[in-house]
Symmetry: D2
């Protein structure tokens, strides 16, 4: 199936001591954290909070893939690029990239698949409000 992706969203972040390890570059699991922060910006942290507390609905990462082309260093300012597509009423697919300043290619790229779950951790369809909100951004 050909997925129909949103435009790319941009999210900026800075690398701190906490992000690096003794090899001198960012510890690789942290890239999944940056991806998650960027996805929250697209959906909206307050909307995620509302869905969780009033509807008992949340997102769970079902699959993720990371490819690291280049080390990312302390004090780097990163551009996290994110786009998404609906795969079904239950599932969204996110393509994400991490760019260092003035870089010719992404330092890290990845793909994350998320499913919608209720508070009993059972698969559930995305609520209409969310479909509508994300749908608007899809056509942005």
């Amino acid at each position: 199936m050909q997925l129909s992706f949103s435009p790319w969203f941009h999210f900026q972040l800075q690398i701190y001591y906490e992000d690096t390890d003794f090899s001198g570059v960012v510890y690789h699991p942290n890239f999944l954290k940056y991806f998650e922060r960027a996805r929250e910006q697209v959906i909206g942290a307050n909307e995620l909070k509302r869905l969780w507390h009033s509807d008992g609905i949340g997102f769970a990462v079902y699959r993720s893939e990371l490819t690291c082309q280049e080390g990312v260093e302390f004090a780097d300012i990163l551009d996290v690029r994110t786009r998404f597509a609906f795969e079904s009423k239950y599932r969204t697919v996110w393509e994400q990239e991490i760019w260092r300043e003035n870089a010719a290619r992404a330092a890290v790229s990845g793909r994350v698949e998320m499913v919608c779950m209720n508070s009993q951790r059972q698969l559930c369809p995305m609520p209409a409000t969310l479909l509508e909100q994300l749908g608007t951004q899809l056509r942005a």
Copy 2:
């Protein structure tokens, strides 16, 4: 007030990539994580889980102090030493130290004060079962 402390408990852990930063040693907030892991061992993770899920009761760190005398390095095996005292029915005090192998003094030492809270995050007295269980260890 003179507090009456338990004997010292010992908890061992190893330092991984995830624990260090680009300066080559353990990133200092992680010491609070190791202290927390060691406290959980004293109280018991299953007891903490039971208290949370059936009674809605948890512990919150109210105050903490850390003194770092020495850097801790990748691949170090640490001995986290922990002892506690009751300060009131609401509050426990924990003295904790981190020792590297064959060291003459603690690399890190600290003190953590915890309070008991219900699920509305209101102060509550420690449940009788916990008082009894910790009391047994106090006299160990």
Copy 3:
């Protein structure tokens, strides 16, 4: 000794999934991370990077204290307030607070003492460039 503090600096951050734990609020060691991010903003990440790579000089946290008055939640936007004083040529003292939006008091407050170290992890005086740069901010 009466320390002479800088004005308060402000640093804003958002709370993500990664910051919370199953009790529903921010996991307490993370507050030390936020304090560190805010200190880096005052000193400047690029200056810290330059000092480390060209002079082999870094900062190490020698002591820290945290007092947590209130839980901090997912999606919160925080104001981290930071001021510092020189205690000697080797040592700086930082007073830091974390404020939730529209709050009447700080959710978390703390004090961090940092020393200057060379690449052999020996105490060394702060370099003149740094003293001058921080000195300018002290009088800001």
Copy 4:
């Protein structure tokens, strides 16, 4: 190419507050941390430390994939299962799984590809000592 895998290695770990998020289960990037801890156990932390400090040689994760079938909870004791294969002199492939106690299938499974790098972060062949050591485990 058909890879020739080692036997499965087992590594046990416990889930702490620090591992979970407010949704009540383990925050997904942490699974990459557990995989990394388990790989370090296979290679040996002291060997990794020696390679880094005396030869300037380290491992970098080039690609990773995660599939999360089930949430992992506070206080869980996990069995991290790990096996590896050489793909070339530069590259190792690791298949890893996370099992909860008494489970019928893995809660999380993944695949990690690592390359060997020198201190200038250039690709380099694995040192002979390491090839030999891992080779022994391959035939274990």
